[in-house]
């Protein structure tokens, strides 16, 4: 019988937030169109390291497996990305997996991204509708503007852009590209626009857009190809305009 082709994974593990990190290596049987999540599932079925030790299966987060939920973001061969669509055929082996350490590590590849959801509160990431009841009409919208909104609304809060951004981290309170660009999304909406000044005020504060160092890393890693830097630049102009307005209104 032909020898079964295998793929080697070198996985950075950590038993808890305060524990020391260590690595373990696993061999997973190869098959065409195998992706990293599917490989981790194989390890669950047979949690034995390359040197034959039976260990606890690797812990990570995933849901949809089709690159819309944002859960399975991790650092694969040095690059932050979604594990479900990281195909083995496109990766250099052995494959290195590590948690995105911009965020607190809970265990192994599982991280705590609650800070991103908190930022969405700060930027008031919603349209302030009166309620869920019917108010007869919703405004018509320019289809081109709607298309831009659609692009930004793909953001799945995965955190790739925060992981790649040199300005996000313990040294700064920068909210990071994803939540900030969401402010642009709500400012685009005909009703959301009413609260545009409030959102821009937030972006003027600590951790807001002034902390962006324009390194352009975010746009390169965004798995949804959102033109993050374009919208950050636009927001920057909006914030400046708002600042001027504030001066003259006082």
């Amino acid at each position: 019988m032909a020898e079964q082709k295998t793929v080697t994974f070198i996985i950075e593990r950590q038993d808890g937030p305060k524990e020391k990190r260590y690595t373990q290596e696993f061999d997973v049987p190869y098959r065409p169109s195998l992706n990293v999540v599917a490989a981790l599932m194989e390890i669950q079925k047979n949690p034995v390291t390359r040197d034959g030790k039976r260990v606890a299966p690797v812990v990570w987060e995933c849901n949809c497996l089709e690159k819309v939920c944002g859960a399975c973001m991790m650092v694969i061969n040095g690059k932050a990305q979604q594990a479900c669509c990281a195909l083995i055929d496109n990766l250099k082996q052995p494959i290195h997996l590590a948690p995105a350490r911009t965020f607190p590590v809970i265990r192994d590849l599982l991280i705590d991204r609650s800070v991103m959801f908190e930022s969405l509160k700060r930027i008031q990431g919603w349209v302030n509708v009166d309620g869920t009841w019917d108010v007869k009409d919703a405004p018509r919208q320019n289809p081109y503007t709607a298309q831009t909104a659609y692009e930004i609304s793909h953001c799945m809060t995965c955190g790739c852009c925060l992981e790649a951004c040199p300005n996000v981290g313990p040294q700064s309170d920068f909210m990071g590209p994803a939540p900030i660009v969401q402010a642009y999304l709500f400012n685009l909406h005909p009703l959301g626009e009413y609260d545009k000044p409030k959102r821009l005020e937030t972006l003027m504060q600590k951790g807001g857009i002034t902390s962006c160092g324009n390194s352009q890393n975010c746009v390169q890693v965004c798995p949804k190809n959102i033109k993050l830097t374009t919208y950050l630049a636009q927001l920057n102009r909006d914030v400046n305009k708002q600042a001027l307005k504030n001066i003259f209104n006082h």
Binding site: D15, G16, R31, S33, N35, V37, A38, M41, Q44, K45, N46, P47, R54, V55, A56, P57, V59, N63, C64, L65, E66, K67, V68, C69, A71, C85, L87, D89, I106, R107, L110, F117, K121, Q124, G125, W126, V127, N128, V129, G131, T132, W133, D134, V135, K136, A138, R140, Q141, P143, A146, Q147, A149, Y150, S153, H154, M156, L185, F186, L191, G192
Partner: protein, 584 residues
């Protein structure tokens, strides 16, 4: 007076909609979810959401939507409930529009509509090919607003384990576990709503997310809630088969002009168009899946002799495809390494959706007082087969019913006595003991491999074509898997983010759910909607125009099947035939 406290389990479209309604009515919500609610499975939905907007000059009507849904469901849905849903649909769309859902628009800025299966008029509102993601985000944002205002407390990364009843048998709380710290805690509630989504993982490979395991439904079934119509499992005709997941290629592909074919005698054979001239590629899912199955399995005409057929978009202009279907075409390219704008995709049917679920009345109360269910985890609205783009609708709509009703019950229901601290602690302790027992399991079986076997069985015997003797066999085999569950060994014995131990607990629930599905399929000797038996090839209204009710027997751990009548008074059942245009 203290505010009413409602526990909502599940933050998909249905749970979030219910949450908003409760907040607006002045209640307080404890919202539980496996994941940040923004990552809930609803975001997988691609194609769209149905509502009679009638903006394409086709004279679409709410009645037509109602009739299509009932006819598509092969007359097994409660008609009054369906009517209410279809009437509310356009209002819900306007609500989503105001909330900022970036729906795809026409050149003049109104909501665009597309075709979908089982309906002749354009009735499907959509946001490119990521409609579910966009709808979910809109509700997620509104709930976040309420979180800031006060009103919602989120328990994300918490798993629901079971409900707690008082001595009168009324549901007054739940037990849940923190998925990181492993803390198990009991929570009081005036009303509990389950909105935990579908049970796709009972079949292992399916189009659903990994968290759609039906575990919560199974848990309350074991605590006395009826499951209704679980045998009606929708097999979606067009998915990319995969070993980790079957990735869906939305019905919107066919709605936008995609065609299904295989080679026959060296020439493309557009078999759906030939078999069903009136609806062609847009026949309902059960019909399309059976045809593909027949062409591949019985006629051996699949691509290269394998179980695959072509789904072809390559004749449609690339720019149009990009705008209408961009997201999923990108997904196909990414996972399959071929560009569907240029070459036909290769697809096969996959387990997709459960029409059945927890039995509820029209207000979404289960038979356990104080416990409600809404969304895919309930059985309402779709009968024996769901029409595409009707489930985002039913998920959202059911939340608009369950939310207010939960408040009504909280204020006026016969709730009986409040849970004492001792009762709360006893319920908690029971779950702690079960969990500690799992941590010490030292058998030979691996839980994930056992799950794989369960999925293989269910996929083989309880999907497109069902045969009684095979169902009997499957039932016995699943029972063996249940017995083998006791012989699982865990390798992770820790009390921190122990996913393996939680999975072991979920797996047991999945196995019991599988028994309910299999038994209900075995007992229904007819063919209706998604449930097809060659031995009984026609619909038998005389015996089976009834809702299946499954109860758990704690002694044998097996399902007990009975049937109850339901409301089909508005549209008289008539034969379903998609070869010809529908007659009303």
């Amino acid at each position: 007076m203290a505010k009413s406290k409602i526990v909502v389990v599940g933050g998909g479209l249905s749970g979030l909609m219910a949450t908003l309604k409760i907040c607006e009515a002045g209640g307080e919500v404890d919202l539980f979810s496996y994941c940040p609610v923004k990552r809930s499975h609803s975001l997988c939905a691609q194609g769209g959401i149905n509502a009679c907007m009638d903006t394409k000059g086709e004279h679409d009507s709410i009645y037509e939507h109602f009739d299509d849904t009932v006819y598509g469901g092969d007359f097994l849905a409660d008609q009054t409930a369906v009517k209410g849903m279809c009437e509310a649909a356009p209002k819900l769309i306007r609500m989503f529009d105001r909330m900022g859902v970036p729906f795809t628009r026409t050149a003049e800025g109104v909501l665009d509509l597309r075709n979908f299966g089982g309906q002749k008029n354009k009735r499907t509102v959509f946001a490119g090919s990521t409609t579910g993601q966009q709808l979910l985000y809109a509700l997620d944002e509104q709930v976040r607003k309420w979180e800031v205002k006060g009103g919602v407390t989120k328990y994300e990364f918490w798993e629901f384990i079971k409900v707690i009843k008082n001595k009168e048998g009324v549901c007054r709380g739940i037990v849940a576990q923190n998925m990181n710290s492993m803390e198990i805690k009991a929570f009081r509630a005036d009303t509990v709503i389950l909105a935990t989504g579908g049970p796709g993982q009972v079949f292992g490979r399916c189009t659903a997310s990994t968290i759609c395991n039906g575990s919560a439904v199974s848990a309350v079934y074991q605590q006395g809630a009826h499951i209704a119509n679980p045998e009606f499992i929708q097999i979606h005709p067009t998915a990319i088969p995969g070993s980790d997941k079957n990735r869906l290629m939305s019905e919107a592909c066919r709605g936008e002009g995609g065609r299904i074919w295989v080679y026959k005698d060296g020439k493309p054979w557009y078999f759906l168009e030939e078999m069903f001239p009136a609806y062609g590629n847009l026949v309902p899912r059960d019909v399309a899946s059976r045809a593909i199955y027949d062409v591949c399995v019985n006629q051996h005409l699949g691509i290269n002799g394998e179980n695959r057929v072509y789904l072809d978009l390559s004749h449609i202009p690339a720019e149009y495809l990009e705008r209408k279907l961009g997201g999923i075409l990108e997904m196909y390219s990414e996972f399959m390494g071929a560009d569907p704008r240029k070459v036909p995709m290769e697809i096969y049917p996959s387990v997709h959706y459960s029409m059945g679920g927890i039995w509820v009345d029209r207000k979404h109360n289960t038979n356990v007082p104080g416990l409600m269910a809404s969304g895919e985890c309930d059985y309402q609205y779709h009968g024996a087969n769901r029409l595409g783009a009707n489930s985002l609708l039913s998920a959202a709509y059911s939340g608009t019913i369950s939310g207010p009703e939960a408040m009504h019950w909280a204020k006026e229901g016969e709730k009986g006595s409040a849970l004492t601290d001792a009762e709360l602690e006893a319920a908690r302790q029971e779950c702690v003991n079960d969990f500690e027992n799992i941590l010490t399991m030292h058998g030979e079986e691996n839980a994930h491999r056992l799950h794989h076997e369960l999925g293989d069985l269910m996929n083989q015997y309880v999907t497109i074509e069902r045969v009684n003797k095979d169902l009997d066999y499957c039932f016995e085999e699943v029972k063996k898997i249940l017995a083998r569950w006791n012989n699982i060994g865990v390798t992770d014995h820790s009390h921190w983010a122990n996913q393996e131990a939680m999975f072991v607990r979920q797996l047991r629930n999945m196995i019991l759910y599988a028994l309910a599905i299999t038994k209900a399929a075995r007992m229904r000797d007819e063919s209706r909607g998604a449930h097809f038996k060659r031995e009984f090839p026609t619909r038998d209204d005389e015996h089976f125009l009834k809702t299946t009710i499954v109860d758990y027997d704690p002694k044998t751990e097996e399902p007990q099947i009975t049937y109850i009548d339901f409301d089909h008074s508005l549209i008289k059942p008539r034969p379903r035939n998609y070869a010809v245009a529908k007659k009303e």
